[in-house]
């Protein structure tokens, strides 16, 4: 994988996450697609397996830096880890599934985005809920959080149908494999 192109794409995805996401928000509730997760799934689907988890950890850590957590004292703080671990789990799931899917089908990216995003969201929520038991993390009720995160994952999958072709255009520069050989169909190929 070309790490310079990865850095540029990550920068753009983080900019979209920060700047453009509110335009796609559903009403006033926290349901909006995640552009960073779409990039993460695209990379997990196409890039050499050895580069996927480090890339997922980096993108997840960036999301941790971006998404602050409100506390009961009124301040919002950065918690490093939830998104990094959630992203890594999402990428790991895609690595295991990618040998079984038609990667060029636009719907593949959509379905995998939903799966990876929901897995990541569950990990993030579990960590934050656990922390809330001994720390001053302020969360909405678990059912509300889970519903919003499920719908966010679904929305991310839908938006990835539009973003997927654009990422495909950038694929030659990021270093994706042009062809999937018979010898490399295993999940860790």
């Amino acid at each position: 994988m070309n790490w310079l192109v990865f850095a540029i794409l990550s920068w753009v995805a983080l900019g979209l996450e920060q700047g453009f996401r509110p335009a796609l928000q559903v009403g006033s509730v926290n349901i909006a697609p995640s552009f960073v997760l779409i990039l993460l799934v695209f990379i997990s689907l196409w890039v050499r397996a050895s580069s996927v988890i480090p890339a997922a950890l980096i993108l997840g850590a960036c999301l941790d830096m971006l998404n602050k957590v409100p506390t009961e004292t009124g301040e919002s703080v950065v918690i490093l880890g939830p998104w990094a671990l959630g992203g890594a789990l999402g990428a790991f799931l895609i690595l295991n599934l990618r040998a079984m899917v038609f990667r060029r089908n636009p719907l593949t990216l959509a379905v995998l985005c939903f799966i990876a995003a929901f897995a990541a969201q569950v990990v993030v929520l579990a960590i934050l809920m656990f922390r809330a038991s001994y720390d001053s993390v302020s969360l909405q009720p678990a059912a509300t959080e889970l519903t919003q995160r499920l719908l966010t994952a679904l929305y991310t999958g839908l938006v990835s149908i539009l973003i997927g072709p654009l990422l495909q255009m950038a694929a030659p520069w990021i270093g994706v494999r042009k062809r999937t050989h018979v010898a490399s169909v295993g999940p860790y190929a």
Partner: protein
Amino acid sequence: MARRTLSPRAMMWIACVALIGAALIPMRFTWWLSWLHGPFQTVIAPISAPLAKVASWLRPGEGNRAGADDPAVEELRRQVEFYRSEYLLAEQRMEQMARVIEALQDGVPFAQGARLRRVEGTRIGSDLSAGTIEINRGRTHGVTLNTVAVAVAAPQHLVGIVTNIGPMTSSVHVLTDSRIIPSLIEALIVREGVTTPGEIARSPRCQFRPVGDGTLAGTLGIDEAARVQSGDAAFLDDPYWPGSAQRLVMGRVVRIEDTDKPLFRRVVIRPDLDLARVRAVVLRISADDDGARTGDSAGNPGGQP
């Protein structure tokens, strides 16, 4: 002698274990991580700020306010709102001055209120998960924690309060987010045309709580609820909020609903703006506001502008 190096797989496992530790360590050990948020925002800002502008253009936060009338009517409405809010603030200050005079007569030393400084900031993004908007003004511009933000399009309309500051950026927790602290916000519901101090004093007071759908709701007794009608403005009047936020508009009554308890009604207010999508805000920086939405021990508001 051969030098031993860690394999990439081992390094990845070490990173995962370190992240699990960082994710679970109590906040008192990881508070310093919030310092990194500001520089990180500064790196993202060159791309997120133009995209936020595009997003504001596609879905403006001021949409439900502007465009309803022609510009002249809108300007007049803004002026009416300004003078109304200033008048209510002046009334509140007169009450406080009377208390100060009483305190001075008792020998309490006089403390001069801090001046209010206004700094305009542009929204460079939003953090939907935290219910905040990111502003391109930070510590270097004099922004402090608990600085109050109002909308540029409606200078008397409260947007939120600063909860995180970086060197060049800061985060404003919007009023309508259900996790804002304190979650109960007291407001004075003033009917259109009410001007005399007596009428203002008798106006219903209600403690509103953000619902999470862009509105705030509170309960009133049926007698007080009978004096409220759709369109009435709610002005913040809460000693636990900074002085620079007092008597700013929180929103307007959109409906009054029955509750399970027959003696109470639920009053729902909605801000005039979509607070999470405002293009720009004015930060009302006051030295007295640094430190808290706590008020003093007597329950008096923080510093007045």
